[in-house]
Every structure is written in C-alpha cells, then in structure tokens.
Subunit: 309 residues, 2 copies
C-alpha cells in the first residue's frame, strides 16, 4: 500500500521527504505516473486533477494540503463516500493569526493612507479611534477564525463574528445565518473573511455586502478568491464606500499581470501567503490522522461533504 | 493658583477642555500670555520654550504630554529641583503596543517586500521563518517596551530585550549595559527601539549597531529621532546590511520634504503617530497626579532627572 502526494504547485521533494520522515517505513509516492492505483491507501492533495481520486479504488481518505477543501470537493468525480480531511495544523493557524492581526492593525492604524502620504512626502496625522471603538468583524469561526478572534480581542477591538449557526461565543457579538448578515455588516468597520468556500459563501463579498458596511470600511480576504466579486470591490472602492482592501486570495491565481488589483492604490495584494503550509509541520498532522484512521478512530478535520467544510 | 498648558503643536482648545473636565473648579490657562507666573502651580507641557518654566517660581511639577521627557530636560534653565513627570497613560501604551506589533509583524511577514512586488505585478512567495525562529529585540523595557514585549511574546517570537541594568525578566533573554549591547544586537533580526532619549542613548542606532546586527535585519524606531544616526541607516540599507526600516520619529519633525527617508524604497515613514496622546485620556492621568501631589504622596512617572527618564 502507498501514500500518494498529488500537487502541481507544491514542492514535491520537500513534501516527499517530510511525509517519509513522519511516516517511517511507508511507501510515499509523488504523482500518479507509474503507480498502481489500487495500491494507494491515502492521498495528500492540492487541487487534484478531476478524476484523479476516482482512479484510486482503495483510497481510505484524501488529506488537503490546506485548511480549505473546496479544491477537492470541486471534483465532480470525487468518490461519494471518500472521507475528505482538511488540514488542522497549529503552524498554519499561527501564520494566519499573524497575517490577520497584522492587516487588521494596518487598516486600524491607517497604514494604507500613511503609505500614500509617504509617496507624496506628506506629514499629516490621520485621526484613528481607540481600539475599543473600532468594530472588527470576522466571517467564519473555524479553527482559523477562532484563533484570529482570540488574538484580536487582546487588543481591545470591538469584535463580532458571523457564523452559519448560533452558538455561545464569549469574545464579542455573534451574528448567525442569512438574517444576521446585514446587521453584522452594518456594525463592521474592518471585515475579515475566513469562511470556507461553499455554494452558500461563494460571492458573499459582493456589492450588496459592501453596501451594508458603514462608509469607509475596509475588507480583508484571507479565505478564497471565490468569496469575492472582484468587480464589486473595485466599484465600492471607486465610489468611496470602502476605504481599502487587503487580499491574499483571488479568483485566478497567480493573479494575472493585467489584473487591476495589482495597481489599485487602495488594494494591498499578497500572493496567497497568509498561511503557507510547511511540509514538515503538516506531514506530522497528516501522519497522526493516518494512524488514527488505521486504528479505527475518527480523524481530525474530516469535513461534512454536504456542508462543504 | 493655576494650571498652565504649554504646547505649540497640540490642540490647545481640546486640551483646555479636557483638563477643565478632569480638574473641575481649577483655573486652567493655555499659554504664558497675560498670566501671573507666580500663580502657576502645575505646568502641562510639550517642548516648552527654553526658560518658560524658570519664569514660574511657584511651580510644583511639570507634566509631559508624552511618555518622553527629553523635550523638557533639554531646557538649560529648567529649575534644579522641579519634579518632571512623564505621561503614563494606558491609552498611549495601548496605541504603542498596536503600532509595534503591527510593524514587527510587517517586517516578520515581509510586507515591505510584498509591497515592492505588488508595484511590479510580481506574484512570488517570500520564505518566512516561523515566529519561534524570528528573533525580535526590544531596546528599553519601560512601560511601553514592557507592554510591547508582552504582546509580542503571545505570537511566539524569540524575544530579547536590552536594558540599562540587569533585572529578572520572564519573557525572553535579557541583555544589560554596554557589554550586553553587542550580543543583543547579534541575535536580533527585528530591532525595536523604545528607549528614552538620554545622553547615553542618543545616536545609539548608528553604523556600529547596524554592523552588529545579523545581515538582513530590520529596524523599527518608535522612540525619538535622536536615537538614530540617519545617514548611517541609509548607508546600512544601501549596503544591504539592513533589509528595511520603519520610522515614526525623526531628528527634524515634521520630516522635511527633501529628506531622503520619504522616498527610500526600504523605509516606511509615519508622522510621529505611533502613540498619539489623547487629551481626554491624558488629562485624567495628569489630574490624578495633581491630586497625589497635593495630598503629599508620590506622583506616578516622576523621572530621575540625573538618569534622564
């Protein structure tokens, strides 16, 4: 039996070495070429080609290289009962927390405006409210959203979160479901998207959402490009409804050179690096799940395929 | 008796109103014109003109509008035994913590490089070590440095501090005194200056200090412009010894339009806004000290004038 690594964009050799170290004695293969599909017990995948997983009849689970699984669930040939496991990795969580806190602070402290002023040689203080009056809103309270919230609350921000279904949440105001979305947006100065990409959340950052935000709000997207209606963001920035945006993910990645986001004065672009899976750390988590699976126990991060996360 | 507000750069009316609210029934004056110097019991000052405090014979204390007192101690006519009180204000501390954490994260997560890449339309991941391998070094562990350290340690950075005299410090490695400076710098990837400006610390961020840092280190100055030898910073950035710098304070403020910092691709400039005194918050702290003084008790933040902070 073998463990198959499937990604066209990740460093194959580094992954193979990390998986081999985390799973001593196992047969780790990288890519479908020359492998007997029936021998593959587990797949470790990022954007697997459509049908690739269906060609592995004895597959017991597929592990995502990231926190999201949309890139696996999008395969129409995905075997019906195959467990799909997202990556829950303290290293990934820590990176995302850093990135979100950094960017919430950047928007809170008017850094995009100060950067514009620096380009003009302009020395001028920009009034900024105290953190307790700055309303930060997080969409999604999974592992990543929850960790970001915990870090943000220590700065004293007025925190709220929007989730699918109501639950107790001690860190701020909780809004749930479709009827909670408008009120959540209306009280949010800095919006952070950390949602899973599902049929329900695709395009959720659209013109209607931006219209519901208070004037001058900022938008931070660290989830998936599919959450954002890109043309609506440009329009909301042009109209002055939104003040700025910081985006790590895009409908098309790499973001194509002619894309207007690259040169937009109010958009900060990072190349999908908010939380970069480190093979060494992730392989440990995946190995632990493989051991759990073989021991007949539940794996950590198995997604509800119907729900999409 | 009167309380005299003395600043040419702060919003006088807002300050007068805040002081009046914090000190009901007191005679709050703004500026020396038309006031009987002998009637002034306390001064609240930012960069008071040389000799201005000496003209107030019954002055019991002078309160700085900021955490630093260098702008008061620099007056050669400062009465010898006049208590000089720095501002200790939770609001100021919170702002500085935000600014320092934001900028440490910016340098940790290579944001200046990503900004440069965005300007070129370049999609390329920059390798970044995990926080536990990122060596952050704080110069100064006063109220501001201590609060920044507490916030930074929660991100898991490898933290060290450099102080004047050895003391117990649970958050990281402590280096003290002149002999500790070299070893402190040699282990510091991201240097944060939060020192008071004194005869001993003036020009401490110079070519020798930069040479002692590891290659590619970043420098963040949120203390005083006088700590930095500006030409040495430019040279260290040009030579590639330093990777980047973020500066909030300058030898000359406002930073003059022709100054090379404005347009340097590896320097981020903010206009002395890391921690902006809010009159409402600061007036409360100053009022509490006035009450302590009148009650014969010690004030909070009285500086050791010989030491300079």
């Amino acid at each position: 039996v073998a463990i198959l690594f499937l990604s066209e964009t990740d460093p194959v050799d580094e992954w193979a070495a990390a998986l081999a170290r985390a799973l001593p004695g196992e047969d780790v293969r990288t890519g479908p070429a020359g492998i007997d599909g029936a021998s593959v017990e587990f797949a470790v995948a990022w954007r697997p080609p459509a049908g690739a997983l269906a060609a592995l009849p004895n597959l017991r689970a597929v592990f995502s290289l990231g926190a999201g699984v949309d890139h696996v669930l999008g395969d129409p040939g995905l075997p019906a009962n195959l467990p799909v496991v997202r990556l829950i990795d303290p290293d990934l969580t820590r990176q995302m927390t850093e990135w979100v806190v950094m960017n919430v602070l950047r928007h809170h402290r008017a850094m995009p405006d100060y950067a514009a002023q620096q380009a003009e040689g302009l020395w001028r203080e920009i009034a900024v409210p105290p953190a307790r009056e700055r309303r930060v809103g997080i969409m999604g309270l999974g592992v990543l959203g929850g960790a970001a919230a915990t870090a943000l609350v220590s700065f004293g921000f007025a925190l709220a979160a929007w989730v699918r279904s109501r639950r107790p949440w001690p860190l701020g105001e909780l809004f749930a479901g479709q009827e909670g979305l408008g009120p959540f947006l209306a009280r949010t100065d800095i919006l952070v998207c950390l949602l899973p990409l599902t049929a329900e959340t695709r395009g959720i950052l659209d013109g209607r959402a931006f219209a519901a935000l208070p004037p001058g709000a900022a938008v931070i997207n660290a989830a998936r490009g599919g959450h954002l209606v890109e043309a609506d963001l440009i329009a909301a920035l042009e109209s002055g409804k939104l003040s700025a945006a910081t985006l790590d993910v895009f409908a098309d990645e790499p973001l194509p050179p002619p894309h207007p986001f690259w040169r937009h004065p109010r958009i900060t672009v990072t190349p999908h690096v908010a939380a970069v899976t480190r093979p060494e750390c992730a392989a440990r988590e995946i190995a632990a799940n493989i051991r759990r699976c073989r021991a007949g126990g539940p794996m950590r991060g198995t997604v509800d395929r119907r729900r999409g996360y």
